[in-house]
Symmetry: none
DNA sequence: GTGGTCTAGACCACC
DNA sequence: GTGGTCTAGACCACC
C-alpha cells in the first residue's frame, strides 16, 4: 500500500486516506481478509498524527469497508471489493451526469458536448486501448 | 434578480452568490451598466449577514465582473456578459473533461460512458425543449 | 436540551451524546430546523472536551440526523424526527427479537417466556396507562 | 467441545470463550469432573493467543465454574451444571425484561410488543422442533 | 503489540 | 461567533 497525501490539498487528510483505501480495495490492491497497516505504522510512514489515521480508519469502518480484529488490527471486510467498486462507479456516473446537466444548462449545445466527449474519450483511450481485452479492470490504473 | 441560497450546502454562501451573479450576467438577466442590489438590501432579502454579501461583491470586483460607481453603488462592468459566458463555458468544459477522465480512470468503459452521455443528453434536451412537462429536473443549476 | 452523561459508563461519551440527541429528536424535544447547542457551549455545560462534542456531532451528521449551517451552527435535518423514530423502533424490535431467541435457545420454555413478558408488560404499563389515548407517543418518556 | 470464535465481534474473545464454556456446561456437553482442553491445545485449535485462553480460564475459575486439579489440568466443578444453568437463566430473564422495558420506553405499544413476542415464539418454536428444515436460524447462539 | 477514547490546545474558513 | 481539522500526548482493554 502506497499512499500519497497532500496536506495542502483542500480535501482533509483523513478523507484522502479514506479515498485511497477504498480505491485500493476497488482495484484489488487490498483484498478482503488482508490486514491494513497499523495506525502507528502508517502514522510514521506518512509523518501524520496517529489520531488522523485513526479517524480515517473509523470512517472506513462506518462505511463497512474494514473491520477490527480485536487486538490484532483492521482488515478489509468480506465483500468490500464489490462494495468499493460499486460506490466508485455510482459516484462517478453521478458526477458525470451532473457535469452533463450543468453543461447543457450552462450554455453548451448538445453538439458541442458530444464533441468534447468524443475528443476526450479518444485522447484518454490511448492509454487504455491495450487493456481492452480485460473487460472489468480496464483503466483502473 | 432572484438568488436561492442554501446554507447547508458545502459551498460557501458568498461563493453561491458569486456564482449566481455571474450566471445571471452570462444569461443576460443582469446587463452591463445595471445596478446590483445594495449590500443591505440583498442582506435583508436573503436574511444573510451583510459581511457575507460584501465579501461576494468584493470577489466579483476582483474578478472584474462588477465595479463601483462612486456614490451610486455597484454595476455590471462593460464586457462582463461575454466574460461571464466565457468563464462559464470554460469551467464547464473543464469540469466535463475531468469527469470523463475520472470516469475512465475509475472503471467505466468508454462504451458505458458513451451510453450515459447519450441517455443524459436525450433526457435533458427533451426537458429543455419542453420544460413544463418534466417539473423536477429543470432547475438543477 | 438536558444531557446526562456518565463518564464511567462503558459506552463512550460521544456515543451517549449521539443517542440522547437521537432520542430527543424522536421524542420531539428537538425539532427539524432547530439549532443544537454549540460545540463550545455544550462542552462547557457538560464539562467535556469540545473535541468529544464535535465527534458526537460529526457522527450525527454522518447519520443524516443533523446538518451544518455554515458559520451558524448545526440544525436538525428535515425528516429527522421520523428517521430517528424509525431507527429507534427497529433497533428495539431487533433487540427484543434476539432476546427472545436467546431465551428460547438458552433453556427457557415458551410458557415461561410468555409469563415473564406478561408480568413485565403489566408492571411497566402502569406508568403508561394514562397516555393510552395518544397512540404514537405512548411511553416515550 | 467446539468453540466458534469471531474476532471481529465486539465482545472480547476471552469473554466469548467464557460464555461458550458456561453454555456447554449448562447444556451438559461438559460435565463436572471432566477435564478442559489445555491452554496450549485450545490455543492451537482456535489459532488464538494462549494468553487469551488463559484469561478465559482464570475468569471461569473466579466464577467457580472450573477449578485446577494440581498437575492434571482444569476440571468442571461439582455443581457447575446447575450453577451455569441458573446463571444463564437469570441473565436471560433479566435481558428479556430489560429489552421489554426498553421497548415500551422507546415507543412500541404493549400490543405491538405482544405481537412481536407471539410471532417470534411461534417462529422459533417451530424451528426448535424441526431444526433440520430451517438451516440458517438454528445456531444463532 | 493492536485500536478506541479522551483531553488540551492550535489554526482555519466562514458568517 | 460557528464548526472542521490537526497535532500531541495520555490511558484503556484486549491480544
Amino acid at each position: 500500500m502506497f499512499f500519497s497525501i497532500d496536506p495542502s490539498n483542500s480535501v482533509a487528510i483523513y478523507e484522502q486516506i479514506v479515498r485511497q483505501v477504498k480505491f485500493a480495495i476497488a482495484e484489488g490492491t487490498l483484498c478482503p481478509g488482508q490486514l491494513l497497516p497499523s495506525v502507528r505504522q502508517l502514522s510514521q510512514q506518512l509523518a501524520i498524527n496517529p489520531n488522523t489515521i485513526a479517524r480515517a480508519y473509523q470512517q472506513l469502518q462506518a462505511d463497512q469497508v474494514i473491520e477490527t480484529l480485536r487486538g490484532r488490527g483492521l482488515t478489509v471486510c468480506a465483500g468490500a471489493t464489490e462494495r468499493c467498486r460499486e460506490i466508485r462507479r455510482s459516484l462517478i456516473a453521478q458526477r458525470l451526469r451532473s457535469a452533463l446537466a450543468e453543461a447543457l444548462h450552462g450554455g453548451l449545445k448538445a453538439a458541442e458536448i458530444r464533441e468534447i466527449v468524443k475528443n476526450q474519450l479518444e485522447l484518454l483511450s490511448g492509454t487504455v486501448a491495450t487493456v481492452a481485452s480485460a473487460p472489468n479492470e480496464a483503466g483502473t490504473s
